[in-house]
Amino acid sequence: MTIIKEVISNFLKKPVTLRFPYEKMQPVENSRGQPTWKIERCMGCNLCVNVCPSQAIELRGKGRESEIIYYQSKCLFCGECIDVCPTNAIHSISEYKTVFPEKDKMKKEYSRSKQNREIK
């Protein structure tokens, strides 16, 4: 019987699962992760807001003065905004753990003065 051989041989092998809190799964290099803004490059063209399929991006103000508000809870991680950005202000980060227990942390505000500040 094939299954007996398989079961016994697996008993001696190391498990394939991860011991989660101690070992974490590594995302691959070009994985499509959470979009992150380099706000100094942004010129407020509104393209990413228009292309976003789930209205996860909000633009406040105009042009170089504008602020980006990014709602992580709405984001599909499709990467359309990254593709469309004319100034390469958006890039994706490789990070699997993007969920937080607090709702506030699921929203990121990129303003010109204090960069990458998470609002409360």
Binding site: I3, E6, N30, R32, P53, E80
Partner: protein, 366 residues
Amino acid sequence: MKTEIRIPFGPQHPDLEEPINFMFEVEEEYVKKVSVRLGYIHRGIEKLAEERSFLKNIYLVERICGICSFAHSTCYVQAVEELLEIEVPRRARFIRTIIAEMERIQNHYLWLAFTAKAMGFDTLFMYSMRDRDHILKILELITGKRVNYGLNTIGGVRRDLPEELQPEIFSKLIYLKKRAKKYKELCESDPLIQKRTKNIGILKPKDARKLSAVGPTIRASGIDDDVRSIEKYAAYDEISFNVITYKGCDVFSRILVRIDEIPESAKIIENALHNMPDTPTQVKTPKEIPKGETVSKVEAPRGENLHFLKSNGTEKPERLKIRAPTLANLTALCKMLEGANIADIPVIIAGIDPCIACAERMIFLK
């Protein structure tokens, strides 16, 4: 003494991954009549699609179902491309074929796991899930995501398949083929699997035709219906493959059909990788889609996937109709369940690979 009891199965049941309700009229442990009720995870996708632009709808249809997301997006994108009357680059079509077949492998391993669970075979469940992770890893390497790949776009694919990934893909495919062979051996030699699946959930070829079953369900009844060979979309006209059929008409044949499709899909992927043409992967497309209506069909892992698209010449579609394979197989499933033992119900339901999220697409959103 004849007494009929009505036993509900679902919407919440540990064997069902998704909510669906079957009402069985049971007489002495045997099912006399089945009625089915959907609507527990209806999300309004068809209605919502009418309010969004063609490009945004790709990501919407991808989220009809997590497992066959690529089949849905391919089907939708093909319909839009037909309306636009553009020729998709050959390389893009090859990449679509490769990803679609990988999705099939992924789905069949997942299905094997769930069927094993329905039979109470926990070990096979764990092994099958373990092996599925290999194909997910490749998909992540290629597309950047594990489940909803976001790869299709109107006029091609968004990411190229780099040359340097090929060795890893080949080695993983060899492993997956080896495992599929092992599972087939296991299923053919294990007396308990045979006891639980042979002559269970019979669907005669004649009934299968009448009830318009699709995909592996009808192929297990000995009919070689396969949209890939009928429609020859993407790159299937350039790659030869066999359509797997078995004549058992029972759950056991459905297991064998799906396990046999794994090496077949691996063969298609290898073939496509060897013959990859060197063209661009995407062509520019206008935002507005010309007037017209079209039907697009794709062979999803579970069977035929049909999208009807009507455009009125604006940025948004007039109507998008989606018919997923599970809805087609549900009537056949009710037929299979008639006369079945209560203990066999989970195995039979698992046998058609139900994806309820696919079967229903609308609910009222507040």
